[in-house]
């Protein structure tokens, strides 16, 4: 995590969980980055990563995904997995950050 901050990059998580549920997750896993709550999946839909009825009780949730966004607000790198277990490795994200230039 500090490697991201050293490069001036903020990591932000988004899920449909309520702030209280996300707080539990952050505490149990020791996450210190901002964890945002998108209960109606509006932002998730906006990024095209909705998993309709993917959660408990057929709730709409996010599919796992990572987006790198530059200061101009442009998407610069995307990682979409086809397996819920397998996420981007930090090295891959850091590599994409190095290619941002500037």
């Amino acid at each position: 995590m500090s490697e991201f901050h050293d490069r001036g990059v903020e990591v932000v998580a988004i899920s449909v969980d309520s702030p209280a549920e996300s707080q539990k997750l952050c505490q149990s896993r020791g996450y210190s980055f901002p964890f945002l709550s998108d209960p109606n999946a509006q932002v998730i839909r906006g990024y095209g990563v909705l998993h309709p009825k993917g959660g408990e009780d057929d709730k709409d949730i996010a599919r796992p995904a990572e987006f790198l966004i530059d200061t101009a607000g442009t998407v610069r790198w995307v990682n979409l997995t086809d397996d819920i277990r397998v996420r981007a490795r930090p090295e891959a994200v850091l590599g994409a950050i190095s290619r941002l230039g500037g």
Binding site: E10, S15, T71, L80, I84, R85, V86, I97
Partner: protein, 143 residues
């Protein structure tokens, strides 16, 4: 003659249980043991090997060792648990919709304002302002 307690059967089954339940709380945390769950497969192998040793001696020397029935039941259970694990890893985990609608590099990222865990409203513009870039990580949620 009193027959011996056939410990490899029980030890083997205990290791099989550990192989099943350890993946999510422990091995998922490290990409090396997460992407291919070899640590869990190794545990299954170890547990299965012990079970096989135990069941074998229960059948070959039934006058010395217990465990013909318990060993058989636990061996079948272990196979079922391994099957469940493999199906979860190779099939269930991949049941997510295709991401053809996901934003691509070069497209504008939609701005947003969302609550953080303390209830504070956080705007994407505010996040971008103080940084060189932002990595947005979408999570399925806490389960």
């Amino acid at each position: 003659m009193k027959r011996h307690w056939n410990s490899p059967i029980w030890a083997g089954f205990a290791i099989v249980i550990v192989a099943l339940v350890s993946y999510i709380p422990i091995f998922v945390r490290f990409p090396v043991t997460r992407d291919v769950p070899w640590a869990n497969y190794l545990l299954y192998l170890l547990g299965g090997g012990l079970l096989a040793v135990g069941v074998r001696r229960a059948f070959q020397a039934p006058e010395q060792y217990r465990g013909k029935i318990s060993g058989s039941i636990l061996a079948v259970l272990s196979v079922l648990l391994l099957g469940f694990f493999v199906v979860s890893i190779l099939y269930l985990a991949k049941q997510i919709p295709s991401a053809e609608r996901a934003l691509r590099p070069g497209q504008p990222a939609p701005p947003f304002v969302l609550q953080d865990i303390t209830g504070r409203q956080v705007a994407s513009s505010e996040l971008l302002k103080g940084h060189r870039a932002v990595v947005l990580v979408f999570y399925r949620g806490y389960w």
